[in-house]
């Protein structure tokens, strides 16, 4: 900030220029566009321009039956698709009064948490790629493929899962999956230690991240930023703890909180979250109850009760809220998707004021954006 005020109050004539980043740019992780007003190397105004991958998810919700919208939930935030399916399915279950068997809830937690780890691994690789380190991406994708193998055997899809059904999950887990998941959890712990030693303690990374891109807790509140962003600002807000859904009450896990509010804090939150997710997966496997994985007799064409219903989950990027309005017909009246990346990006304009351009890209990477999650 001081450098900026020095520049702007200096004697030389105040000159700015516009720098256009994107919509095709490797640092924006997709088709986000940033209109930056630059004063030399410093940003005086950053205006994100969205909508380059707007895919009408909300309008499509009004054009098909409740069940036909399920595949769409896998394509909003494709890195953490499980949580999105969970929110939508649970909102409709709430509206239609469908009871989910305990085994299905446990399977949902296991798959959601595995998906969270795989999502954070992509962020880990891509974020460090932004900062100039290529090798961690290769390590991260190596671990991620192990998760994808497990989930593919279970769900039939590597990325855009459509696994949850109203009243449970479409495919019960088998012994291979349980054994494979246990092996993965056991193998992932030393990898996390390796990441810590290789990357987190790296002096170059620390210099790039510590004290950069400060976001205060108050700013998070005003903009509705959630997930690792708000937890990196010292607020222990996690939907899994604050509005416990599914069977998250049964598990012993911590919500990692770092008060610094800089890029390093958000980095550490995500790294610690992966460890906590491993804990949850392990406990859920231990406690996995028997019984059916899908409630029998849920009609193919649902007609939920009139009214509006909400369901919020903790997706990998923060609070994801589905709000459905039913008018008692087989087609939703309104499907509202409140996505975390949208709110997390909206604070970028204020947070990037006066930053240097490379630091602003570090800030952008630390927000962990998925662009279709913003544009929907």
């Amino acid at each position: 900030m001081s450098a900026l005020s020095l520049l702007s109050s200096g004697e030389r004539e105040h000159e700015t220029f516009i720098l256009n980043v994107g919509p095709q740019h490797p640092a924006t992780h997709g088709v986000l566009r940033l209109k930056l007003t630059m004063d030399g190397e410093y940003i005086t105004r950053a205006e994100p321009v969205c909508g380059y991958i707007h895919r009408m998810h909300e309008k499509m919700g009004e054009n098909r039956t409740w069940a036909q919208f399920l595949p769409n939930t896998g394509r909003i935030d494709y890195l953490a698709a499980m949580a999105y399916g969970h929110a939508y399915v649970a909102a409709v279950e709430r509206a239609a009064g469908i009871v989910v068997p305990a085994r299905a809830e446990y399977i949902r937690v296991i798959t959601s948490e595995l998906n969270r780890i795989s999502s954070h691994l992509v962020w880990f690789g891509a974020f460090l790629l932004d900062l100039g380190g290529f090798t961690p991406l290769l390590y991260a994708f190596d671990d991620r493929e192990k998760i994808l193998d497990l989930l593919e055997a279970l769900t039939g899809s590597r990325l855009t899962y459509c696994y949850y059904r109203f009243g449970g999950v479409c495919n019960d887990v088998d012994d291979d999956f349980i054994r494979g998941t246990r092996e993965f959890v056991a193998g992932m712990r030393p990898r996390m230690k390796m990441y810590r030693e290789l990357v987190t303690d790296n002096i170059i990374l620390r210099k790039r991240l510590i004290g950069i891109g400060h976001i205060s807790a108050e700013m998070c509140r005003k903009y509705g930023a959630t997930g690792p962003v708000i937890r990196g600002s010292g607020v222990a807000y996690d939907v899994r703890k604050n509005e416990p859904y599914s069977v998250y009450r049964d598990f012993d896990f911590d919500v990692p909180v770092f008060p610094e509010g800089d890029c390093m804090a958000r980095y550490l939150v995500r790294m610690e979250e992966m460890v906590q997710s491993l804990r949850i997966v392990e406990q859920a496997l231990d406690k996995l109850p028997g019984g059916p994985a899908l409630t029998a007799g849920v009609p193919r064409v649902l007609k939920p009760a009139v009214g509006d219903y909400c369901f919020a989950v903790e997706a990998a990027r923060g609070r994801f809220l589905v709000r459905i309005v039913s008018d008692g017909k087989e087609i939703p009246y309104r499907v509202r998707l409140r996505t975390p990346s949208f709110s997390n990006l909206s604070l970028f304009e204020e947070a990037s004021q006066g930053m240097m351009l490379p630091d602003a890209l570090a800030l952008l990477g630390s927000l962990d954006l998925v662009i279709p999650d913003i544009d929907r």
Partner: protein, 169 residues
């Protein structure tokens, strides 16, 4: 020294003659540089194809270039909507000849799952904007499918398939 004694070996073992076009095609086919251009879900599978397990560099196509002027092949990995279409068209126009296009995934082929009567946002297939050489179906296609697409493109360039085709049992 007499010229015919300068080289004792049979020259045909060392020097091969071919059409210059064929030689160029062979060089191009073995080092296709894709444009770093992720649109949506398929881009993650494109990243996975470039990363450790699938390792697209085995086929010489790992040099992802952020600038269209340095790229040979544009992998359209994801949905194109009406706001993005002019930018995609500009990128295609900025690429130097010869250039190729791979439409990866159902969205780039036809609009995929986002097409319904009365839709207002999505371009129904990238071939509405510019010609496409290889279509890779899937939602999203697996990384192996992308590699197969690269091999198909190589086949188009050289007229010969580099690897034996895997025929499903």
């Amino acid at each position: 020294m007499e010229p015919e004694k300068a080289c004792t070996q049979d020259l045909s073992q060392i020097v091969k003659f071919a059409m210059l076009d064929d030689v160029l095609s062979l060089a191009r086919a073995n080092s296709l540089w894709p444009l770093t251009f992720g649109l949506a879900c398929c881009a993650i599978e494109m990243m996975a194809a470039g990363a450790s397990r699938f390792d697209i560099s085995r086929f010489g196509a790992e040099v992802f270039r952020p600038s269209p002027r340095q790229a040979d092949v544009m992998i359209v990995a994801g949905t194109i909507n009406k706001k993005m279409a002019p930018a995609v068209k500009t990128l295609y126009d900025q690429m130097l000849e010869p250039k190729w296009v791979i439409a990866m995934g159902n969205c780039a082929i036809s609009g995929g799952p986002f097409v319904y009567p009365g839709q207002y946002a999505v371009i129904e297939g990238v071939d509405k904007l510019f010609p496409v050489d290889v279509f890779i179906p899937g939602c999203p296609p697996r990384p192996e499918a992308l590699i197969e697409g690269i091999l198909k493109l190589e086949e188009k360039l050289t007229g010969k398939r580099r690897w034996p085709e895997v025929i499903p049992q």
